[in-house]
Symmetry: C2
Subunit: 443 residues, 2 copies
């Protein structure tokens, strides 16, 4: 899991070499620590569209030092533009006018956030064109900023303005350290629940599959830190690691093979009888059986699809059918860049992970009617035991080919899951958010 | 424009070195020459969903040698699976069952095509999930196939089955040499016009902006070859090159700065008075003014947005408003991978090219009501004078980082435009198709 290059590049001689040779220069990312301010420097807010008031209200609630007038030579922790007032391509000049004079003042690990309108919600083609154009701007800025800074587009539907706080807090904070170049959509909802931002999941029960190690263990830890009781699930063979994680997070362990015929029924029963239902379901369990299709066995195809996709569908049906998933519930899937872009030797895995995207998109409107959301993370190169086993050259390529010039950590995926899980994220539904440092790879 | 590496790799010692060192191995791509058969080897068709009959009819019409029963050790020019009968994740096994035994038999520059249902048209979440999963499969296969072969997903809405022929012909033929890993959508339409497949644009008038060189000149040539009278437009400063292209394609030249205030009116007048209207409008004119945002001047922002986006919108309004664009018309935009993924130093360009995507998506339903379609190509690394000026290292990275291990040619973009322009492509609307050899880059 060690990124020796990053450690070397931060030494004196390392820094010199990196600069002279134009090598990748990964900076230590700002990550969330309890008690830290949301943003370590003032935030400049501009624009003046229909979301501006809600942005200011959210920043006040988060006790962020907010400025509305740019000052030359000032340093900013984040630059936020409400671009919802842009209604045609000429109006896009507002992007240049706001960011050009101040972008150099962004601190290391800074945040560039543009608020827009989803193109399909626009009044006419001119507005939809301009709003879609903003995405090209944001993705370019994500690649230009460097020094650990991120750029995001948050599209807010009309009627969803009051639902932006959980998303703004996530994106401004160190919790989104390895999330960049993403488009997040917030849809209209009723009242947004009040939450204790230090323990937003207090009183909630969360299920995490594949929780015995790696990304699953990190998800269990972060949900536990945020106040949830976490039911940690994994196959019996992982029983020992699983118990250790459950103990560490003050949760409970459940040994179950989710692909077994009886698994959905047994799980629903367990959650209903022992926990009176469940609020958060994280479908993290996943396996790989890499082989090119010509050499792949039937078993390799079947097992990957069964664990990564079919089991999730069966669990969803059981938990939704028996009303074990409570109102206000959260279903969270784990997709992958391979599911977006495809990958050599992973036709089975990519099919299953593209299916997760399909599951999120198709269930989102259905679940919204029950006050439940479904979203997914799509991790890129995350430093785990799995990636540590990749041959050096490929590993280095995967690590460096992104806007952060480094791999992410399991906690980066976990924090993104926790944002989806937050009761205040009720307008965040049907999103697939990459946790990839804005990897170059895509579709 | 020379790809010296590709030439070297095809020599005896070059082949040896490439094999021993595991270097990229670009094969000469199969490109369309008049009189060539559509596919140089038999095509295997499988599946048996609702589009299978239409696929067989299209292949018969194109005089393709079609097989329905796989034979071991047979060589196939294309493998086509109708996957519309897959209704849940378990059914995805049909992908493995069909392709696994025969994928090795695909010839060099072969074609893998899966026909699916657009997820938003599916009956339930299970079917939508499975149909979306197919995309991950196809993108993986595009990366696995090598030797110049391509993989595509064609999603056919219910009621659009009879409209697949122009798309199948394009994707099977050498016209789609540099198109891979794409998802094409065909929507329901009325009767599909009969066309002479050797001169599908006979009797039509096409306008191509930026036609004096590079990709624009190639588009003018291919549309002319397909029978259209081409009005070649460019700025007065390009007058000499423009006349040469117009003469070569038997078309006419029109010198006009499309960003001028009077340009839309003058163009509409010209097309109405001289040509009695226009059938095909290709918005190819585009400029770059690369600079990071912090160093970009106002003029650099404004000029790129004006030429690449605002001018297109104004021309569309003028041509549609005055009914200069005829029924059955085609509007075709040119986006870019930079518009999809963003790019360092191209915030202005990426914004404009993302805007083109927004224009296509938002105008498609509006224009469908007038029997007009709008689509766009998004070129990746295309060998032109522009890319020849890129520094060696970046140029080589751009050329090799795709499933073809080589750059595309202007004619590859032009053939894709000609497919959109085809009167039989009436169900192809609102698509953005990359011509990038399945570049690794994306969003």
């Amino acid at each position: 899991m060690a990124d020796r290059y990053q450690r070397f590049a931060s030494t004196g001689p390392g820094r010199l070499l990196v600069r002279r040779l134009g090598l990748p220069n990964p900076v230590p990312l700002r990550r969330h620590r309890p008690g830290d301010p949301l943003v370590p420097a003032p935030v400049l807010v501009g624009g003046g569209g229909r979301v501006t008031d809600a942005v200011h209200a959210a920043l006040r609630s988060a006790r962020v030092d907010t400025r509305s007038t740019p000052e030359s030579d000032a340093r900013y922790g984040a630059l936020v533009l409400d671009a919802t007032s842009i209604v045609d391509s000429r109006g896009l000049r507002a992007l240049y006018d706001f960011f050009h004079p101040v972008v150099r003042g962004l601190t290391s690990c800074g945040r560039l956030i543009v608020i827009g309108t989803p193109p399909d919600q626009c009044d006419d083609s001119r507005e939809a064109t301009a709003q879609r154009a903003v995405e090209g701007f944001v993705r370019s800025m994500g690649k230009e900023l460097r020094r650990g800074s991120t750029a995001q587009l948050v599209t807010v539907s009309v009627g969803a303005e009051h639902a932006v706080e959980s998303t703004l807090r996530f994106l401004l904070s160190g919790r989104s350290a390895y999330v960049s170049g993403q488009v997040v959509r917030i849809d209209p909802v009723g009242a947004v629940p009040e939450v204790d931002w230090d323990r937003p999941l207090a009183g909630r029960t969360a299920l995490v599959t594949g929780a015995s190690r790696g990304i699953g263990a990190a998800i269990a830890e972060v949900l536990g830190r945020d106040g949830a009781h976490v039911v940690c699930l994994d196959v019996p063979a992982q029983g020992q690691d699983l118990s250790a994680v459950a103990n560490r997070v003050g949760g409970s362990a459940l040994q179950l093979d989710i692909t077994a015929d009886h698994a959905p029924g047994r799980l629903a029963e367990h959650l209903r009888d022992r926990h009176d239902g469940v609020d958060i379901v994280v479908h993290n369990a996943g396996i790989t059986r890499d082989r090119t299709l010509a050499k792949m066995t039937e078993a390799q195809w079947d097992s990957v699809l069964a664990v990564n996709l079919t089991a999730q569908e069966r669990l969803n049906d059981a938990l939704l059918g028996a009303d074990v998933l409570r109102r206000g519930g959260r279903v969270i899937g784990v997709s992958s860049i391979a599911g977006i872009a495809g990958n050599v030797g992973q036709a089975n895995y990519a099919t299953s992970k593209a299916g997760v995207i399909g599951m999120v998109r198709s269930l989102a409107p259905v679940l919204a009617a029950r006050d439940v959301t479904i979203n997914a993370v799509a991790p890129g190169f995350i430093e785990t035991r799995m990636t540590a086993a990749i041959p050096l050259f490929l590993r280095e390529a995967g690590r460096r080919m992104n806007s952060m010039s480094q791999g992410g950590l399991p906690v980066d995926v976990a924090e993104t899951v926790a944002w989806f899980a937050n009761p205040a994220s009720t307008g965040v539904n049907g999103n697939v958010v990459r946790v990839c440092g804005q990897s170059l790879l895509g579709a």
